[in-house]
Amino acid sequence: MAFSPKPLRKDQIKDCVRSLQSVTLFADWTATEIGEFCNYVQIMPCPAQEVVLWEGDAGDVLYMIAQGSVVVSRKLKGDVETVICRLHAGDFFGELDVIDDQSASANVQTETDCLFYTIGRETLYRELERNSRLQSKFLLALLKEVAKRLRTTNQRLTDAILWGIDATSLDTG
């Protein structure tokens, strides 16, 4: 990927705080807490049709979407992939890779011009460990989001099976 995160300039921190306030991970954080956190956050603009993460890449960065939308997909066969979901401003990705130190589990590509705020795993862990209250708020929010995505995945699994039934004309209902 040709686009690398850059440290935030002083004039960009206000916008960063405003954007992170709408990210569910920081829903219970105060503006001051987010403001301090932003000192360790980096900014990464990305044009449309760019791959931000390839499946299998070393995953050690959490991406928070400030502007734009991305498509999350997994490879099926050849150049064809199945779309898992779309994420928009206020969403985030890369959290699984940050949690379990595994490589990226899906491709993430920008559908429109995007602006991301990023933080590396080491930096995130270090900052959260310094403040146990923030750590619990963050982890609780992360847990809620993971649960929500798991429910969405269950529904998608049902839809995929229904799709297969309909597509092969097996359904009579």
Partner: protein, 407 residues
Amino acid sequence: MNDKAKPELELLIRTPGPSPESSGSFVTKRYVANQVALTVRPKRIPDESFEMQVQSRKDHKVSYVVHHLESDRYLILNEEEYFLWQKMDGLYTLRDVATAFFIKFGSFDFRKIHQFLERARRDKLIVIPETDLMRTSLGDTTQPSTWVGRFVQNVRSTDWRMSNVDKRIGAIYQRTRVLFTRPAYVAYVALFIAGCVSLVAHYMSSGVDISWIARLLLLPVLASMLAVTLVLHELAHALACKHFGREVRAFGFTFLNRVVPIVYADVTDIWMSKRKARIAVSFAGPASGLIIASVASLVARLVPFPTVSSFLWLYALLALMLSLGSLYPCLFIESDGYHLLSDTLRIPALREHARRQLRERFSFDAKRRATRSPTGDEWIYLTYGIASIASIGASIVGVLLLVLAQF
């Protein structure tokens, strides 16, 4: 259940970039399950694998008993199901079968078809070959090694589609509804007659009169105007589809068979309408070209500048030829003319039947050659098939003669 509630599969089709470091580009496509289902071609088992017995019933209706010889299973069919059984010969898609069912019985209950299909598949009397809807999407693509090859591959896999297409076309239709009124139709006929008379009169009295320098300069303009004509042709199909209250599924630009650049409008939803609506939608595209050609020829007659006038005569002639070409039905392609013929004759899958008849009647293998007299429908298939072969042959000969005449 409307389309929004039906399960959808969304795929992302990636086009690799020119270098390993580049992300390339991608498009996403949605497939609604029923759209896939409607393109499958159910096929009953071969004739020698089953026997059939007709049985009359007390209520004077008739039942058909199908006996699968290998599995020793029986399927009892009523008249409607027997009709479906006959249609499911591997040539018709489910959409064709549904249309034929509607034409025959005046009812459109897809559930009957599904239920029949389920029973027949369970008893192994009908199979559904793999759908090839996504075959090209899921095919393995090898990366060309040269940049020219990669560029060509990128261009050939182009598929630009309008987003929110049905809404947008609907909005355009609302603004242009006057084009679908009776006075407008009368005006079209008058314009067409006047335009044709003008064009024929012009070419009988004088030929094309543009110097070769002007031709070279005007070629890009001519090409652009013809491209716009093609876009308007497809737009006319789409607007006609909206006029009859159906959905426009897609509108865009791609390379047909990854070779021929085309603009397309997916108006297959019109199959859920009556025959009159289908015929009108098929005719709308060529009609737009005929009207544009007529207007161009009338403007050419009025314009005082000879070069511009000659250019417009040429454009009018080309637009007329393109429209008449799309109306011609006998070329074994699914042109607008083919759909008009197929609907007029009430024979879906006319091409496929014609091909099968030609194979049966003119097979080199004497054992496979059909010897009995053709039925009424089979005469129609044969006529279409022979006319198409003759047309294709005449086109090739015509082009060769044209090329040779230049030398």
